[in-house]
Symmetry: C2
Subunit: 215 residues, 2 copies
């Protein structure tokens, strides 16, 4: 079995899947898709990912079967069903729902509004991307912190990293990039510190990727 | 056990959960949250849903335990784990990933960009909501149709409704509302017709809700 991840270093959705693959200790080949240069719109890539987004995870089985998975949360759920250990979701149904809700606060509540394809349209309307994005990030992270206060142990839900943390850490990286301060959300700062102490999170960081551009 | 759904008739995320509850044949009380009047920002509602969004599903167990679930896809996954029959996800892992990816194409790929909280900001920048929203809906539905062409039987993935159809039907209703034509996406038109023939989908439609405003 062989895994190929199509990723962009700064893409928070790619970052989530890199964390998930790391937690599952699954080795993978990295294919950089430069979304600033529009490589996600190339026909060969769109054939794998009709939304023209990163990430895409290609899997080639030992018998030669080959398929491409899209949408970061769907990919993480697939990884968790196929390689259940360590789990990305708690066992208890209510806590599973909480972990998924936290993931969605970021996945649907924040990230689509900071996406390059969105901010390009904002700029066309005469807006400034960081001004557009900031309130969505601030409100979303505040909601995340309130919800996580009910479930957090060492991590967002209990004492092991979950799909929620796979989304949180990339979103905090984006918050820093867009200049959104979250230091007052002490729970999130503490969770981030604990996550980044784990190799799976450290190695998945944007600046650790082969296509990272050093500033 | 008692279920209370906080919903707005035109909210596509609320609509998804209404379909899911209908497919599972779970009776529920309907509490209307008028998002045009800002009722989602009331303190009592935000205590249940810190994102100040609809839907919220409150569950009171027979022993009095009470909790609130947020984020439509997390709610649908919870319903599916707790009341597995009929399933909202296929059995086979790859098809589960496909159904979830289709759901996310809409949930994170389209809906956040047509959300009232988003279009309000667009209008502030001098944009027009329908012009802003149209390309996101058109591109997203085209991608959905391409992906679904690989998995569809009678419905989006195989021959039973899944979480993907729970997202598709509300999104098609929103497309009509924003004047986005999708008649050329024949697969989606056919799936919509088959879904709307089922009571769970028919009863979940916006104009069938107690808070619907007749035009």
């Amino acid at each position: 079995m062989k895994l190929v991840l199509h990723s962009y270093w700064r893409s928070s959705a790619s970052h989530r899947v890199r964390i998930g693959l790391g937690l599952k200790q699954l080795p993978y080949d990295y294919v950089a898709i430069n979304i600033l240069r529009g490589e996600q719109h190339a026909d060969a890539y769109r054939a794998k990912n009709p939304m023209a987004q990163v990430p895409t995870l290609e899997i080639t089985e030992d018998d030669g079967t080959h398929f491409a998975l899209t949408q970061s949360l769907a990919i993480l759920e697939y990884l968790d069903e196929r390689w259940p250990d360590p789990p990305l979701l708690p066992r208890e149904p209510l806590l599973r729902a909480r972990a998924r809700a936290l993931a969605e606060v970021i996945n649907s509540g924040i990230q689509p509004l900071q996406n390059l394809s969105t901010t390009k349209q904002v700029v066309k309307l005469g807006g400034k991307d960081s001004e557009w994005v900031a309130p969505f990030i601030a409100n979303g992270l505040a909601a995340y912190a309130k919800l996580a206060a009910e479930t957090a142990g060492t991590f967002s839900v209990g004492d092991a990293p979950t799909i929620a943390d796979c989304c949180l850490i990339p979103q905090l990286a984006s918050a820093r990039r867009f200049g959104v301060d979250y230091k007052h959300l002490e729970l999130l700062v503490a969770i981030e510190e604990r996550c980044l102490a784990l190799p799976a999170f450290a190695k998945a960081a944007p600046d650790q990727q082969p296509d990272a551009v050093k500033s």
